[in-house]
Symmetry: C2
Subunit: 453 residues, 2 copies
């Protein structure tokens, strides 16, 4: 047993990993616990969902990142409870881990606003698995459409609805627009992929609400250039196997679409519930935890909450957005704070977020950015975006190749990861779907005839 | 309805794809049917299983490959029956497709020699999904070992048994040796991955039986240099959750190992059964179909069987090996034959396989090759191997990057695709496994203590 303080970090995302790295030279033992063995570069997840990148290209093994940091260890484990009163956490396998300092950075998960039954029909984009599921769904839709001749049914397979017009929704819609118009252009014989309808809907009056209004409009215009229909001020009422029902004012709208994707909202990870229960910490409606000015849990000076899980306020009293930058700066701050507490017994002045701006990408070589008060759009915004992301990724490994590859694909419109992999259940669905069409007596014209064209 | 003959090809592997491409300028309509939407470069599948490459890097969408060939279409479908008497095939979704010419190239699947219950404990390496499952299994084994302190139990998690010492088994064993000795060297804190035991076993008297004896011995020596123990003349008797039971002569041997991989044998795809049933074609013990000298099904001059599914004999009467080369040459031959039959009503002289040799890779920058009677080993064989594979892959797309990446990783020992993805069931198993260890009263020393090291 060593006498060095034990720092436990929950979550190997942007916040947790930065915290671990920030403690490199501190006289502590660090244990980073995550359910997954990799750090995921979430901002590029939509590229996996749309077949431009492979999972391995946007994820780095946590052990690899920390292998040279001798005071850090990685533990693969699922944290199910946190008890700040006993300074311990509990893993799903029953192990109890004691800590001197704890950094909770377990992030958020997607939220269906109380309609979890929608998840089945409209996957969201939070994990590698969901990204490959979405890829599967998108590509399969074209495959099924190729096999169906009824124009209405075919159209519903070629209609893609993305719910939620934040950065993720915008990026997904733009990428699907490109898949339909460019990538798959010559790939089919019965359908014209470019006739696919891509609909981006949101309840807000405009897309990309956190951005200035003129950038929102520019983004909407770029999207329309990619064939994406933007529908704002529309509230989703229901999602089922066949499509989406929504309200525009008091009018009910029905969209028959076999591919519906959810980019709607996020909620805190279940750990927030455990934390709140054990400490009476305050949470907001999406379950995120209100932290003190030094990012600690009120009443527990040795427990930090950083990243999306925390609500910390900026100088004007507005909560900070759920961005990688906020998480990284929070993680670094918590690490410094712990090091200082060990050295001097005192913490640091309140956490201040340094806003470097935000960027959303709209398809090939176009983006909107809002950095340091400068508003960019088009190619210049895209180049900024590419540069920032490149800088981040190369920190870890010689991942420059990812970007070379990505740039080449962007120029050639090819997508190397256009694979439909995964469970055979889906193949079964595919067969069932076509068989159902075939046995439908009212759909005799749907017979697939392939003997000669 | 066009009057052009309809050529249906079952399977988009090496044989089927070459056949489709070979018909590019023939006055026919080609339909390529496959259950998957991609062509898989199977010889590099072990690289996915061992985390060096991503699935997207060894697979190319079939539609993309054939998008510019206007007389070809791709159909995603599962062929469940073939009836040469009615010139038709049946898909799982109920569709019936008529053909004028048929090329069956559906390949083989792994065979457990009547012991399908072993599959659960010893996955084989045939599909992308199995490759990622194997990757999952290998990486998880190190993760579990890190969490267990009982030396015997830990050793069984750090013992890897590969059954079958053909090229796939040799390549897997070599790659796992490198993972343990190089890739993961600094990644763990409780275990030393380089202490992992890797055992390659086979019933034959030496590894790589189809190769000349001296190359076999060189390969075995290279493997031992990577820490792989080669055990020949050992017959597997049973595989279970805890390991392998085998017979060495009349002595029973028991190996406790939590990771067992099957590289044992192959059997024809289920379509062979359908073909045999409907035509009384002869099959061998692994279900492959005996074809005529022009690769047609005896009695059916318009049905070709190419690749692993067919047994065709070389000039000396020996069956041709199950190599990509044999399949590709067979596919090209069938295409030429069909084109000639349409043009002149006559076929071609018997198929002759042009043997370019074979190569097996043993870890980093080492291989054994037997080409045109020249036997190579070491770096030179590896360079030959890399060059041949590179040539093949670049045919399709600008995939040069795959090889640049691969070469860089080879130099740096890093593996960019070291992700544990997939169902949460496995995470559940992981938790259960550790929980079981914990509740075992005789294993109190297995308690994970992570509070301070």
């Amino acid at each position: 047993m060593s006498a060095r303080p034990h720092v436990v970090i929950i979550g190997g995302g942007f916040g947790g990993l930065r915290a671990a790295q920030g403690l490199k030279n501190a006289p502590v033992d660090v244990t980073l616990v995550d359910r997954r063995n990799f750090h995921l570069f979430q901002p590029l997840l939509y590229q996996v969902a749309t077949g431009s990148l492979s999972p391995g290209e946007i994820a780095t093994p946590l052990r690899g990142v920390l292998s040279k940091q001798r005071n850090a260890r990685v533990l693969l484990g699922d944290v199910v409870d946190v008890n700040p009163k006993t300074n311990s956490i509990l893993l799903a396998d029953g192990a109890i881990i004691q800590y001197d300092f704890l950094i909770v950075a377990s992030g958020t998960q997607s939220s269906y606003y109380g309609h979890d039954e929608w998840r089945k029909w409209a996957p969201s984009l939070k994990s590698i698995e969901e990204a490959t599921e979405i890829r599967h769904k998108i590509l399969y839709a074209f495959e099924v459409a190729e096999r169906i001749s009824d124009p209405l049914v075919r159209a519903s397979w070629l209609r893609f609805v993305i719910i939620g017009a934040g950065p993720t929704g915008v990026e997904l819609a733009g990428a699907i627009g490109e898949i339909a118009r460019q990538t798959l252009k010559n790939d089919f014989r019965s359908i014209h992929p470019e006739e696919a309808q891509i609909i981006l809907m949101d309840g807000a009056p405009r897309i990309l609400m956190p951005y200035p209004e003129d950038l929102s409009h520019k983004a909407a215009k770029s999207l329309e250039g990619l064939g994406v229909q933007v529908r704002t001020g529309v509230m989703v009422k229901g999602i089922d196997r066949e499509g989406v029902t929504a309200m525009r004012g008091s009018t009910e709208v029905r969209l028959n679409a076999r591919t519906v994707l959810w980019a709607g909202g996020v909620a805190a990870s279940p750990l927030a519930v455990a934390l709140a229960k054990n400490t009476a910490a305050e949470t907001d409606k999406s379950g995120r935890i209100k932290v003190s000015a030094d990012l600690t849990l009120p009443g527990f000076r040795n427990v930090f909450v950083v990243g999306d899980l925390a609500i910390s306020l900026d100088r004007s009293g507005k909560p900070l957005p759920g961005l990688a930058q906020v998480a990284m700066q929070g993680g670094t701050y918590a690490a410094k704070c712990i090091a200082k507490k060990i050295r001097t017994g005192e913490g640091l002045p309140p956490f201040k977020y340094f806003d470097k701006g935000s960027i959303a990408v709209i398809g090939r070589a176009a983006a909107v950015a809002n950095t340091f008060g400068v508003k960019l759009s088009g190619l210049l915004a895209w180049l900024t975006w590419a540069f920032i992301h490149l800088m981040y990724i190369v920190q870890f490994e010689s991942r420059v190749l990812v970007f070379i590859q990505w740039a080449i694909q962007d120029l050639t419109f090819s997508r190397s990861s256009r694979l439909i992999t995964g469970s055979t259940t889906s193949d079964f669905d595919f067969n069932q779907e076509l068989a159902a069409r075939r046995s439908d007596p009212g759909a005799a014209e749907n017979q697939v005839t392939v003997s000669a064209r």
